[in-house]
Symmetry: C2
Subunit: 474 residues, 2 copies
């Protein structure tokens, strides 16, 4: 069984240099859009993971699918790695150029190509961010719900099978991508899926590429499901005497089938950080931050049900955010929790767990993790998409204290093994990247990982597509 990698050491990989003739060809085609400047390379060789940067040899700023085809054809001819890059919000080391190669910056592929309001679908270039898409959808009375917190690109979100706060009602990228344009490992264009809502036409290549973390091809266009803006939206917060009480309220809400749109947990540590950063003045006790979508009557019905459940668990009365401005303030604070928490221990290195378990096992999963975290003495904070059984416990570690790093890693391993024993997964939404390769093997088992590897080798025999991620190629 693979041991999880220590969190601060990069695995050894062969360097696969970009031949001078290939670099010359890139420069000829892309001019200043092909950069080898140290700062640009450095910025593209990391994400928001705790790893040191592993810079690519060159960065190409693509503006079209044809640009991507051109780079991948050159890379394929020269067996050089290509690593797709959106806006760099990956948490799991997906963007590190472990074997060198070319980073494909897709952030300039930012056109919303089609909005089919009548069919509730949109097709976007991979570099469109979720906030941009929602701005462009607003006038049509539509929205795209998947919200991982960061203002990530839709290509990046598809690549990691992202989800976030709205997934409890609307599903994840798995459920909300209808089709893709992909440049495959030989630089050929491929289309998957259609705009029809369902299909039984052959293997589900769309779902295979969603969550493949750039290892099977480069997604350049994404066709998405949209939703009508709900007639009524209400957000509320509710404080609880303990994390357990908040979690049990959540479990019952889900078990009763309440179609709650968002159900987020923040522990007292997270609220303390958010208060300091966003000046919110929230009570520093475990809290659920909830949102209800529907008709006026439906929202009222949902809220009443959840209020009754919360009361049974010692929850205080709901405080409602009645205006869009109040709602935005609360959700902005939630989304800034990550940066807010980092500032509570200057110079720290952080690492978020991402386990997800069946909802009935969530209390067990989270309570034991909190107990261990408290006993460790290492600063930590928790936020959770608890309606999905998913939470992030983030240790804030002193990078110069090897004992603390090792202790946090050991606790992470325990957390993951507990989630697997509870029939859950090591990653609900961040992806495997580097750090969870060992966990994936424990979770899926050797035959399933062997099947993934066989697929990778069949579709990318030279291993040029974001090599070194998810599982070992050999």
């Amino acid at each position: 069984m693979n041991a999880p990698l220590p969190d601060h050491v990069l695995p050894a990989h062969p360097h696969r240099p970009v031949p001078p003739a290939m670099l010359a060809a890139l420069r000829e085609r892309f001019g200043a859009r092909c950069s080898t400047a140290a700062g640009i390379r450095e910025q593209h060789g990391r994400g928001e993971s705790f790893y040191d940067a592993a810079p690519p040899e060159a960065v190409v700023f693509c503006e079209s699918t044809e640009d991507v085809v051109a780079v991948v054809k050159l890379a394929a001819a020269n067996a050089v790695p290509v690593i797709p890059f959106g806006v760099g919000t990956s948490l799991e080391g997906h963007l590190l150029a472990l074997q060198g190669g070319v980073s494909l910056d897709l952030s300039r592929m930012d056109r919303v190509l089609h909005i089919h309001a009548d069919d509730l679908t949109a097709t976007v270039q991979a570099g469109v961010t979720r906030e941009q898409l929602n701005r462009e959808l607003k006038d049509a009375g539509l929205f795209f719900p998947i919200d991982p917190g960061a203002n990530a690109t839709l290509g990046g979100m598809a690549a990691t099978r992202a989800s976030g706060t709205n997934a409890v009602r609307y599903g994840t990228m798995r459920e909300n991508v209808l089709g893709l344009t992909v440049v495959n490992a030989s630089g050929e264009l491929m289309h998957t899926g259609t705009r029809a809502k369902k299909s039984s036409a052959g293997y589900d290549l769309t779902r295979l590429f969603v969550g493949s973390e750039g290892t099977l091809g480069v997604m350049t266009e994404v066709t998405l499901k949209l939703y009508p803006l709900p007639e009524a939206v209400s957000a509320a917060i509710c404080h609880f005497p303990s994390i357990d009480a908040a979690v049990r309220t959540t479990i019952q809400t889900i078990q009763m089938g309440v179609p709650i749109a968002r159900c987020e947990l923040l522990d007292a540590n997270a609220i303390r950080a958010v208060n300091a950063y966003s000046k919110l003045g929230l009570r520093e006790a475990p809290m659920l931050l909830m949102e209800f979508h529907g008709s006026e009557a439906g929202v009222k019905e949902q809220a009443e049900t959840v209020q009754a459940l919360a009361r049974d668990h010692g929850g205080e009365d709901f405080q409602w955010a009645r205006t869009p401005e109040e709602r935005t303030k609360l959700w902005t604070a939630r989304h800034q929790a990550y940066f807010a928490a980092l500032q509570t221990r200057p110079g720290c290195r952080s690492q978020s767990s991402d386990t997800c378990v069946p909802i009935s096992r969530l209390a067990e999963s989270i309570n034991a993790s909190v107990e261990e975290a408290d006993a460790s003495g290492i600063p930590y904070w928790i936020v959770g998409h608890v309606g999905d059984g998913n939470f992030h416990l983030t240790y804030l570690m002193d990078p110069n204290d090897p004992a603390e790093l090792a202790a946090a890693e050991a606790l992470n391993v325990k957390m993951v093994r507990r989630a697997l024993a509870l029939e859950g997964t090591c990653t609900g939404e961040h992806g495997v990247g580097l750090h969870k390769m060992g966990y994936l093997l424990e979770e899926a088992g050797a035959p399933a990982v062997a099947a993934m590897r066989a697929i990778k080798r069949a579709l990318d025999p030279q291993n040029i597509m974001n090599p070194g991620k998810v599982f070992s190629f050999d």
Copy 2:
């Protein structure tokens, strides 16, 4: 571009005989559960498709995953095809033993292994049928919504990515399978997915196997999402002056985001057949059969919205099926439409189209098809899961009239090409099987089909898993 296969000629395939030693080994292990009787073989070499039977050399009645492992290990060692068989309701020739081999009858694998009511999940053996599962769920106040009409097995439904009447609200097998136990092509056990609601752990093997039509491995256990039985359920029928009016009512219902649970179209021909078969006395005019799920207030709200839309399109007042008995009568009639229609032209050969288009293109898709069908003079009938943009136009052909067979096939080709031009799919829910291999190539394009083929060859290099279906191996 592949021409679609003529509908009554089987493609030529090499026969791959079961060696006598392998047959002896099967007999030794399985005794009477391994049959080579002509009647049994014949029954297992067809489905409900229009093809003549292509019987396997032997049928093994499996009772456990270990049984399946044993057969596949022998098949792998002897390069002999294996074809999974549930209850034989496939419409697309999936069950034909084109190259001989062994049919794996999974219908005795009919145990519901776990019902996790608290997590809204169940794990079943592949031979459990949907009606059986729903009987076993009833006392827990839960149900599994996917309903393709036939009382198919859940393994078979997963294999074809089935959907049916409830998909408009609850999704298809794509959205409702959480995990699988699979016996791969070398006879090894594999697990995919977990019971967690979401995961970003590696390639989505679950979704790859769902819809792979038995060509990548044998699914022996399926973990499914469940839903609480709705507090309120109402069914209603409404007649319209034309198919177009019924379809436009549907389109607006979906575009307004009404969470209708079922929205089925029957044309006058289908109603005539159903009336004759089930003695229902329904008016023989285009009709929507609808069902609403939710709270009492929610159902009322939905029904009022749809009634107003129907009225705008000349729909008559809703007739409500208020009791569970009345509802069951209507849905049973809908589900018997297939057999009812067959009886209207004794000795006929039938073939259902299965196109699915974005909802805004449905009127265009269906109206043109009706016009062509009327002009052809060939008897036909239509039912449709119109809320999803999916309908079945079924020609009832005289098998002894080659001109009629050819005319119907030509109209099918037109229907499919029209759906593809409207950004839809050749098959919403029946699968590719044999007849749609050419359509798949037109729909997905050569690079995507090449990727499917590469995956197949990587996971089943001897091509023993249900060979000859979906696309050509070579």
